[in-house]
């Protein structure tokens, strides 16, 4: 029988994480012998819609995509459904009322990631001297799903401890440069006060760490650094003792995706929600974990 | 003008200053129905400013404008038109990207079912231009046509606006006698119909041919208002230039005192063979000797400017060769031409000459600097010296050498551009309509200057829509017709009458 054709629409290549995600999917497709139709949307929803339309026109067997944003997919997914092409969501959900528009959603839960970061800090706070613990937050791109959710999840948990205070929160656009720039500003205004830095992704954290060092402080000691994603760079930072913890958000969805895609194509029923197994990596285990990081 | 007739338009105590420059101070003007009123004055006297004030382009600092006795204050050309004042400004102010027809009718389109009726518009435009004996494709974009044609279009636009007052600021500066005659015929007709016409020119002949009344401005001050019939040319000139200078003799015989060129014209500076360009100029031969003035005569559109542009490499010739001082030159760009010792003062100062925001000094030294190259900068002192000298020699009226050329009067801009090329002091200088919009006195001075340069060995290719000028200055001249060369003549072989015949085509 002919190889299964999978149309995959990626958000873009805005971060290392995204690139790893893309790579994983391409490799997995090769291994699983799936012919992959890959389309990059350059961070634009309309491009993703166009891509999906073209997949439909090409009559692929299965469509998968990681939505740029949750909302606004009903129409095009409706067309897919009408064309009897099953749709799999990866990494981000869509918020359409009609759940029948897609068969399943593989991926991590941004809110949960935020919570995990929060929980780690909650634990850590116990061991810290009494008194207020001032947190500065580096948000992702304003309005982007991970930024909103990771903020929410984190806030939700730390609410448990009144001493945990977010004194500053500014967007660092998920990039090192911005992360560093913003952190510099924070350090100038309330340098000594800051006890904890919570960054919505590793890149910003790494940038911020540089800023902290240049301010003559010790990242990881004078200022605790918490971040999300778990890319290689983060692990190097942890091994150097500059980053305290990174909450994993695994981009390696490829194998799972292929497996599910095959099942779906074969007409088997799959669970509506498939969460990826992800860990929280504190600095202590970084060195041990480092060798077996793929991204 | 019978007494008791109320003036259509009356200006009282108009003053206008630009920063510190007093362009107009306490000027008055009366414009009666059914008269052609000529505004005279040297370059920078304030003529155009006065016109811009009364058509709402500038707001006067002081003074009032009465239209039919009612004080008016037009805020823009639009309002002025609304008041029945139709104007042709000094520089051609049309949109080169639009079709000829549209330039005539824009703002006042003939409509059908609320939509612009292009057919009707083009027909009417055709008719209007035909009245002026101009037969061109009115659907073609204006940029297709040379300045003179554009000027005619501007005029017919103004004429087509049914107005009570018609204002023409130097409409004839780039026109040939033929066109001028046509224009005057039309003006006379309008005068019959009782239109009040304000006319600006630097040509005395034209002034006396058409005008009933003359108002003279000097340095922004009203010199006086006279009936044309009661003012002799000499008085007029004196009033324009002011008593400070001695009366000039025989102004209308510019260059008459030039004795036949005795310098040896043996050395051929430039030799063109079969120089031509498809559709614009039939191949022709040219030999220019050192130290001579070589004139080009022809009717509007006869191809004079084309010859100049080809020689200068501004347009690429698609046939023929050019030899300069005996060796073949490929003039692919003006740069090459300049390197080969040619200079070209274009007829279209607004589009191809002035660099408006730059200062007078910068405009003057530009070509010289370009030839010197990027690195060898002309020292500031020298630049200022040059600028000041030419301002003195050509009598350029400007507050100082750092004033942007944009704020100079038309004629003064023209002089500045002339200065640019004189400063380069090329072996051969092409002057296309160099005296456009330049006042009588300056004109003579410039002509003398030009001739003096020749006597010093410079070769000059002289183009002017004033055939008399060409006749007087040039040692030899080439007559062009329909963009073909038709006969070369030496000084004296043609006089004012025969040349017209030749040009018109009754030769051989």
């Amino acid at each position: 029988d002919k190889a299964l054709v999978l149309g995959f629409s990626q958000v873009g290549a805005e971060s290392e994480w995204r690139t790893a995600n893309t790579a994983s999917i391409k490799d997995a497709a090769k291994e699983a012998g799936v012919t992959l139709k890959f389309a990059d949307a350059q961070q634009k929803q309309e491009n993703q819609v166009k891509a999906i339309r073209s997949f439909i026109a090409q009559k692929v067997d299965v469509i998968a995509f990681s939505p740029v944003v949750e909302s606004g997919w009903d129409t095009v997914l409706g067309e897919a459904k009408a064309a009897k092409i099953p749709v799999i969501l990866t990494d981000r959900a869509v918020d359409s009322k009609d759940k029948s528009l897609y068969v399943t959603f593989i991926g991590s839960d941004f809110v949960e990631e935020g919570r995990r970061a929060g929980r780690w800090l909650l634990e850590r706070a116990k061991t810290m001297p009494a008194g207020d613990i001032n947190i500065v937050e580096l948000q992702g791109t304003v309005g982007s799903a991970p930024a909103i959710d990771r903020k929410a999840g984190f806030a939700e948990i730390i609410a448990a401890n009144p001493h945990l205070k977010i004194i500053r929160s500014q967007s660092g656009d998920f990039t090192r440069a911005k992360g560093k720039e913003v952190m510099e500003a924070f350090l100038k205004t309330d340098g000594k006060k800051i006890n904890v830095l919570y960054a919505h992704n590793d890149d910003m954290a790494i940038g911020a760490i540089q800023a902290i060092e240049e301010a003559g402080l010790k990242p990881g000691k004078d200022i605790l650094v918490i971040s999300v994603d778990g890319v290689k760079g983060a692990f190097e930072a942890m091994m150097a003792g500059k980053l305290n913890v990174t909450v994993e958000c695994s981009p390696l969805l490829g194998p799972q995706l292929m497996k599910v895609a095959k099942e779906v194509a074969a007409g088997e029923t799959v669970p509506k929600r498939i969460t990826t197994e992800e860990g929280v990596f504190p600095a202590e285990i970084a060195a041990k974990e480092f060798p077996n990081r793929k991204y | 003008m019978p007494a008791g007739v109320a003036p259509t338009l009356a200006l009282n105590g108009i003053s206008k200053a630009f920063g510190g420059v007093k362009a107009l101070s306490d000027v008055a003007l009366r414009l009666y129905p059914g008269e052609v009123h000529t505004l005279m004055g040297q370059n920078g006297a304030g003529k155009s400013t006065l016109i811009k004030v009364l058509t709402g382009v500038y707001t006067p600092d002081r003074g009032q404008i009465l239209l039919h006795g009612q004080p008016v204050q037009p805020g823009s050309t639009l309002e002025a038109q609304g008041l029945g004042i139709s104007t042709v400004y000094q520089e051609v102010n049309l949109c080169a990207n639009l079709s000829v027809a549209e330039n005539i009718f824009i703002g006042r389109y003939p409509k059908k079912y609320g939509a612009i009726d292009w057919k009707a518009m083009e027909l009417q435009a055709q008719r209007l231009l035909n009245d002026l004996q101009i037969r061109i494709d009115v659907t073609a974009p204006l940029s297709r046509y040379p300045l003179a044609i554009q000027q005619m279009v501007a005029i017919s636009r103004a004429l087509s606006i049914s107005a009570k007052v018609l204002i023409l600021d130097e409409p004839t500066s780039s026109l040939d006698d033929a066109e001028v005659k046509l224009l005057f015929d039309v003006l006379r007709k309008l005068r019959e119909q009782g239109m009040a016409i304000l006319f600006v020119t630097h040509f005395l002949e034209q002034t006396y041919e058409i005008s009933d009344r003359i108002t003279v401005l000097r340095n922004g001050v009203l010199e006086g208002e006279y009936l044309a019939s009661q003012l002799s040319r000499l008085d007029l000139v004196n009033k324009m230039v002011g008593a400070q200078t001695s009366p000039l003799q025989g102004l209308d015989a510019i260059g008459d005192h030039v004795e036949p060129n005795t310098a040896d014209n043996s050395g051929t500076v430039l030799q063109a063979r079969g120089l031509g360009r498809r559709g614009v100029l039939a191949p022709l031969d040219l030999d220019l000797h050192s130290g001579e003035v070589f004139g080009l005569c022809g009717l509007l559109g006869s191809g004079r400017t084309e010859v100049a542009r080809l020689l200068f490499g501004a347009d690429k010739a698609d046939s023929g060769t050019i030899q300069i001082k005996g060796k073949i030159e490929k003039l692919l760009s003006p740069r090459d031409a300049i390197a080969a010792g040619i200079g070209f003062c274009s007829e279209d100062r607004k589009k191809e000459g002035a660099i408006l925001e730059l200062s007078v000094r910068e405009n003057i030294i530009l070509a010289l600097q370009a030839r010197a190259g990027l690195l060898r900068v002309i020292p500031r002192k020298r630049q200022q010296a040059l600028a000041n000298d030419y301002i003195k020699w050509l009598g350029i009226k400007t507050p100082d050498i750092e004033t942007p050329i944009s704020s100079l009067s038309g004629g003064n801009q023209q002089k500045t551009l002339l200065a640019r090329w004189l400063a380069v002091n090329p072996a051969m200088l092409i002057l296309d309509e160099p005296t456009r919009g330049i006042d009588v006195r300056a004109k003579q001075e410039i002509m003398d200057y030009v001739i003096a340069l020749c006597r010093k060995g410079m070769t000059i290719l002289f183009i002017s829509s004033e055939i008399s000028e060409v006749l007087r200055v040039s040692d030899r001249m080439l007559v062009l017709r329909d963009r073909k060369a038709c006969g070369e003549y030496r000084r004296g072989e043609l006089d004012d009458d025969s040349v017209l015949e030749v040009i018109a085509g009754e030769c051989q």
Partner: protein, 333 residues
């Protein structure tokens, strides 16, 4: 240069012609290389997916023709989707009223910028850039989340299908096409349109010829704002959501479309119809890439670049050949 100017209108006309030709060539190549490419639906998808871009580009065409530029359109689009979504979902206003409101808002936003540009002699670029920041910012003030629209009429229009020979288009396409027709009429058969060309050709002359320069300029930006808002409405049909990050960088796509369509950025020369081809070209490039399906993210960018280049080259050389001495940038030696 007189020569260059002389040849400009032709070159602008030929450019448009050439563009159309190249469009077909590209489509032909696509059809040969990819299965399922040569189908009516693919063509119609071009229209469906780019309806909003077309509308924006139409507004932009007028601005550029007048010698200006409007960078705010993308953000105004986003703002429109946001406001519509908010009015519909939170205030439950009737859809038609909402549409009327946002169109009005868009137009006034544009008019305001136009006024600043004209009366204070500010530069279009900088004013509209600030406008761009402002509109985006306002989106976030409404909400940083995306708001889903489930208003029946919107849903209906979003999923509405108008069959054409077995294929279909969305209602948005019809609206866009009507807008195009209207724009062409405006540009070529009304005082306003011609004034726009005149101002683009030479603003001072336009003034001295007694054209209402000020009013026209303000109206141009108002029109552009209106188009952006209308595009926003189409976009909210298209996406059924309001979102502050919608249509980022669309202003650039629009400008590109207009310029590729043969309009000169310096103003005065160009055709509204050309803009349609410009939009289709951009859309086609996207589609080709999607159909290819082997390009990595960066190759996608590179290929877009290359296609743009090849296209502009062809366009340029062909129109050069068409009118011998033409050149689009006056400064060329």
């Amino acid at each position: 240069m007189m020569k260059i100017l002389r040849s400009l209108p032709e070159s602008s006309y030929f450019t448009s012609m050439v563009t159309v030709a190249l469009l077909f060539v590209m489509f032909g190549l696509g059809s040969i290389s990819y299965t399922g490419f040569f189908s009516l639906q693919v063509v119609l998808n071009l229209l469906i997916d780019n309806a909003f871009l077309l509308v924006i580009a139409i507004g932009m065409t007028f601005v550029i023709l007048s010698g200006g530029i409007d960078l705010s359109v993308g953000s105004v689009l986003a703002l429109t989707t946001m406001i519509s979504a908010y009015m519909l979902q939170s205030w439950h206003w009737p859809p038609l009223l909402v549409i009327a409101c946002v169109l009005l808002i868009g137009a006034s936003f544009g008019a305001a910028m136009g006024a600043l540009i004209h009366f204070f002699k500010l530069q279009a670029f900088i004013v509209t850039l600030a406008g761009m920041f402002l509109a985006r910012g306002l989106c976030y003030l409404i909400s940083i989340n995306s708001i889903t629209i489930d208003q029946p009429l919107y849903v209906a229009l979003s999923q509405g299908r108008i069959g054409i020979f077995g294929a279909f288009v969305s209602p948005s396409v019809l609206i866009a096409m009507m807008m195009l027709a209207l724009a062409i009429y405006l540009a070529h058969y009304t005082r306003f349109g011609r004034a726009v060309y005149a101002i683009g050709g030479n603003e001072q002359s336009a003034l001295l010829m007694g054209l209402p320069v000020g009013r026209t300029k303000v109206m141009v930006y108002a029109f552009s704002g209106f188009c952006a808002a209308l595009a926003g409405v189409l976009f909210s049909f298209y996406m059924l959501s309001g979102y502050g990050l919608h249509a980022q960088g669309t202003e650039l796509d629009a400008i590109a479309a207009v310029v590729i369509g043969g309009t000169l950025l310096t103003g005065g020369y160009g055709y509204v119809a050309g803009t349609l081809t410009g939009v289709l070209i951009l859309g086609l490039i996207q589609t080709l890439i999607a159909f290819d399906g082997t390009l990595s993210s960066w190759w996608t960018k590179i290929v877009i670049g290359v296609l743009l280049f090849v296209f502009c080259m062809a366009q340029r050389l062909m129109s050069l050949g068409a009118s011998r001495s033409g050149t689009a940038t006056p400064a060329v030696d």
